[in-house]
Amino acid sequence: MRRFGWLRVTGAFLVAAGLQALGSVLIEGYSEPFAIRAQLVLSSLLAVAAVGQTLVVIVGGIDLSVPFVIGFANVVAAQLYGDGWPFPLVCLVVAVLAAGIGAINGFLSAALKVHPLILTLGVGTAVQGAVLLWTAGFPTGSAPEGLTKFVSIGAQAWMLPVPWLVPATFVLLLAMMLMLARTPFGRRMYALGANPVAARYALIGPVRMWTLTYALSAVFAAAAGVLLLGFTGSAYADVGQPYLFQSIAAVVIGGTALTGGQGGYLGTVAGALVLTEINTLLIGLGLQPSMVQAALGAVIIVLVSLYGRAAHVRTMI
């Protein structure tokens, strides 16, 4: 199973590389440095937004509150910074609030054994409503210059021709891989996702684990929201909407099964690259946004059917 998992991750990276090659052949300027930088930045944003989805899927859940928490962080950060708060404090407040939202998601789902799909949707909807109410629907504020530079496609990270976001995402990738593979918390996450009943006998408390995991998920969604503030320059409560399905798709294309207990963040990063490639390629080919969306749907199904298939019932008996 483990070797098979690597096969899926490698497969996703190969698909991304293949799409890049295809794009270079079909579209002029597809592999220009600026175009590649743009792809890396967009992929990094998606990768950050999908950290949480990866974690909750590994423990056997799903988090539909991701887009709402992204929007929440985006608006709250802009508003507070606009009110003159120092930016580090803004980040801290946003992270703590997000962790609280996530903890509610995880705690209620696990303690009451409610399906997280509806619960996270309900909590997310309420959170977004609260944000809109607070700002009366017209969020104001702005992004600090440093943040804009951190994510700007044209910026440089030291000697590298990419903004700091890209190496930072790489560090995040290493940290996540370490956490999942080499910490007791990470190993417990896989065990809980693989077999919740056996996990109980192995003294892995589902409520504590889910509360922590969903809190982490929300913190990373909030990070994506703040980064998007730097990217777009102004606050928008619906900025996270595309990430609802994209975060799930990135996880699944990366070989993490929605049934829990397997997969990893490297796959999700590969999935984020694939999704960004497909998007860029289809737009580059001159498709209308609506057709891009349709094609994206078809491609996701084809990709997942190639290497993300579930087991037949007969193999589970």
Binding site: K113, I248, A294
Partner: protein, 311 residues
């Protein structure tokens, strides 16, 4: 199975409260003479909630998130392609077309989810994107022109589609397929060992979902009297929330017509009452989210409260 399960009770209590609240707030809107219109307003969501149920009943992550976009797509094809471009307004063509399109979409979903074995949420998420994309391509902007007979189905005759659906559901319950679907949803391994063709049963559950989506699309078209490319996708989450609120277990194996219908009516009445308060849509959104969370939590409470003699 009893007609009203424990899970549906919370939704029923909520229903009584919401009806009382709505009638107190706005007697005119809830007067008997307005029932037809009222039902017409609620009907698309009721149908959508019902449509989302068969796929969920099959268990093991069974779900159809493409319900909303499928309604939008059928709505667009009915009005744009059939009525406007081809001049067909006959019910004898439009109704079967909607059902066939629904069943076809359901069959595609079912094939991807059960034969190709892509996890249902991903499979139907894919068709969600495909259908909403196609709808926008076919119909970049809203377009009027539903035939009068269809519009009548959202007014005086709004009870008709719901009765048809109820009868269809009762018929479905008499089929061996229904029993097999519940068995599969409760424990697919046991069902498989007992000789149930689990794959076929699950596949058909998506087709049934698709058929109901066809009805939901007709009812939606009747209500809006036009084709609108943006209205469909909203129904997915509302429909699944309705089903969950009514006590349909997202883990499969438990649910029914009343559960989904009561859940949908709850959500409709909730929106209706909150709109009347003239509160901002933001308060509406907060209340909607919180009530959704509260109800499913209350639904779940009895099964997790510690019992003596258990862990």
């Amino acid at each position: 199975m009893p007609l009203i399960t424990r899970e549906t009770r919370v939704a029923l209590v909520l229903l009584v409260l919401l009806v009382a609240l709505n009638v107190a707030l706005n007697p005119a809107r809830f007067a008997p003479s307005a029932w037809g219109t009222l039902l017409g307003l609620a009907a698309p969501l009721i149908c959508a909630a019902l449509a989302s149920m068969p796929a969920i009943l099959g268990g093991r992550g069974g779900i159809d998130v493409s319900v909303g976009p499928a309604m939008g797509f059928i709505n667009a094809v009915l009005i744009k392609t059939l009525v406007i471009d081809s001049g067909i307004t006959s019910a004898w063509v439009l109704v079967p077309s909607a059902l066939v399109m629904g069943a076809g979409i359901g069959a595609v979903n079912g094939a991807i989810a059960t034969l190709v074995r892509v996890q249902p949420i991903i499979a139907t998420l894919g068709t969600y994107l495909v259908l909403s994309g196609l709808t926008l391509t076919l119909l970049p902007a809203p377009l009027g022109g539903a035939p009068d007979w269809l519009k009548a189905l959202s007014g005086a005759w709004s009870i008709l589609p719901l009765v048809v659906l109820a009868v269809a559901w009762l018929g479905f319950k008499r089929l061996p397929l229904y029993e097999q679907l519940l068995a599969t949803g409760s424990d697919d391994r046991a069902a498989y060992s007992a000789g149930v063709n689990v794959t076929a049963v699950r596949f058909l559950s998506y087709v049934v979902t698709g058929l109901f989506v066809g009805v939901a699309a007709l009812v939606l078209t009747a209500l809006i009297g036009s084709a609108d490319p943006t209205i469909g996708p909203n129904f997915t989450l509302l429909a699944i929330s309705s089903a969950a609120l009514g006590g349909v277990s997202l883990a499969g194996g438990r649910g029914g017509f009343l559960a989904a219908a009561v859940g949908a009516i709850d959500i409709f009445l909730l929106q209706s009452a909150l709109t009347y308060f003239n509160v901002s849509t933001f308060v509406l959104q907060i209340s909607y989210g919180l009530i959704l969370v509260a109800s499913i939590c209350i639904n779940a409470l009895p099964s997790v409260l510690p019992k003596r003699g258990a862990a």
